[in-house]
Every structure is written in structure tokens, then in C-alpha cells.
Amino acid sequence: MNPGDEELVASARRGDRRAFEELVERHQQRAYHIAFDFARDREDAKDLSQEAFLKAFTNLKNFDGRSSFYTWFYRILVNLCLDYKRRQKRAPADTFDETAKNEMEPSHQPQEPRSPDQQVWARQISLRVGQALDDLPARQRTAFVLKNHQGLSIKEIAELMETAEGTVKVHLHRAVTALRQSLADFV
């Protein structure tokens, strides 16, 4: 039988590197995808998710077990992603080119055969969605990404964002309303 996250955390705290690597194995895909939802760039998503694992590894002794490892770890990751977005906003000239380049990167798109028209349409949508998401306030974006992209429950999002479930619902509603207006052309 596979040990639970908490057992692995206990072993890792005692210095068992294998236990920590098992935690990485379990969470790396989801961590990467959450980071990708914020960064929308493969390399940045890789760096962000790895940084979150590294931070968890070095701070494992401070993990008091009040929340689950899952919540604790994804909180670290989301905070890193929000910092990343803040840094991006401070240097818009650099990030614009990078984002535009990545939006055009075919390897990031689902591997489906598309006509040229469909490809242009998909790129347009991708650019507009990226911009609309960037325009959302940090907490609205977090609630939206965790719900819409990752399918977390409202309770999980509330724990992760350290806020009330009602507040998450408000953030989610506002994010959806803003996106619906920004992307009205595509409806």
C-alpha cells in the first residue's frame, strides 16, 4: 500500500530524500499545470513549479501540519506564481514579446490538425484570453484558474487562498463577469 502524503512528509522531515522525491513524483504534473495556467509559458512553468518544490524541501521543518501538505505546497506555488505575475507587470516590455512569442508557439497548443483559418482563430483567442487573464486582479485570477483550469473545489481554493468560501465565490463570479465582457467577441 502506498503511504499517504503526510507519512512521506514525516519521512522527508527525518531526512529521507526518497520520500520527498516520491512527493515530487505525485505532485509534479499538477504543480506544473497550475504554474502553466499563470505563466502560459513552458519554461517559466517548469522553473516556477521546481522552485515551489525546492522551497517546500528547504522549509519542510517549518511545516506544522495544521493544513495538509497538498494545501501547504500549492499555497507556496500559487504565491510564487503571483510574484511572477507581479514581476511581469513591472517589466511589461520584456514580457509582452515573450508572451506573444509563446502564444504563437505551436508546441503549446493541443496537437490537432487545423486549417490555417482555425490556427489564426486559435491564436487570436489565446492572445486575447492571455491579456484578459492578465487584466484580472491577482485574487480573482487565482480563484478562476484554480476552479476553471484545475477543477479544485471551492473549499480547496478557500483553504489554499486562506480565505472564506464566500469570498472565493465572489472572486470567481467577478473574474467570470470580467472575462465574459473582455471576450464577448468570441461568444
Binding site: R17, F20, E21, V24, E25, Q28, Y32, H33, F36, D37, R40, R42, A45, K46, Q50, F53, L54, F57, T58, H108, Q109, P110, Q111, I125, S126, V129, G130, A132, L133, K147, N148, H149, S153, I154, K169, V170, L172, H173, V176, T177, L179, R180, Q181, L183, A184, F186, V187
Partner: protein, 172 residues
Amino acid sequence: MAEQFGKLPGACAHQEENLVLLHYGDLAGTECDTLRSHLNSCAACKDYLQDLGKLLPLTIKTDEPPQTFWADYKRELRHKLDDAAQKPRWRQKLAPLLQPRLVPLLATAAVVALALTFTLGQNLWTTNEPAREAAAMLEVLPVAENLEFFKTLDVLDDLELLEFMGSQGSAA
């Protein structure tokens, strides 16, 4: 009553939040039943829900990296973990001192220490001054005495004066 928001018409204002939750399957119980029966009679809310169904999936940008990416990912992370495990110990020892709660505490302690140094410490320094002066006097005094002695030596060197002083003494 449906409200007009910007470019797109909205749903009933008091139902919008629940419509979003219904879209995500996060609405249950009586709230869900009430909304579903409302949807049967409200075209605006029905349209809003349909819009969400069309629009929100478009916002998801999927990325499925190849297997080689994950192999690199693991190898790279293992190296980073190795580096983190071998970090100098002094940094780990200092880390608790640099925790957010301890920084203001240490700063306050430093300010108090400086304040005490400039108030009480000043008196301590001034009380030491006379002792230092006395010690300096003790060093200078023998030199001064020697100086007097040498001055008298100058007088002794003058033989005429000595004889004169001697004759004066005998005459008296």
C-alpha cells in the same frame, strides 16, 4: 429582471453568482433546485449559462509536454535539491534570526542598546576620566621632580656662585 453589462447582456443580478457555481457543478441542494426552476422561465439567465459553457472552456490553454520533458524535469530538480541540501550551515543557523517576527525584535534590541550606550554609557566613561588623569599625573610627577633636581644642578655647576654663597654663609 436581466441587467445590461457592457457589451453582453447579463443575467438576473442576484442569480449570476449561482449561475457561475452551477456551471462548475458547485451548486447543490435547494439553491440548485430554485435556480433550475428559475432557468425554465428566464431567457436571460439561460443565455448567460450557455455563454459560460461556450466561453470558459476557451480560456483553458492546455500544455502536455513530451516524456523527455519530464525526464529532464526530474533530473534538473534532483540537482537543485542536492544543491539545497549542501548549502552552508551558517546560512541555516542564521535563517531563524532572519524570520519576519525576529527582525523587528532584533532591531528594537539594537536601538535600546544604542540608547543605553549614549545615555548611561556616557556617565560610565566620564567617571573613568579622573582615574586616568591621576594615573597620568603619577607618571609625570617623577619627571617634574627630576626637572627640579636638574635645575639645582645648574646652580651647583656655577662655582663662583657657590663660593659666594659659601662666603656669605660664613660671614653670617
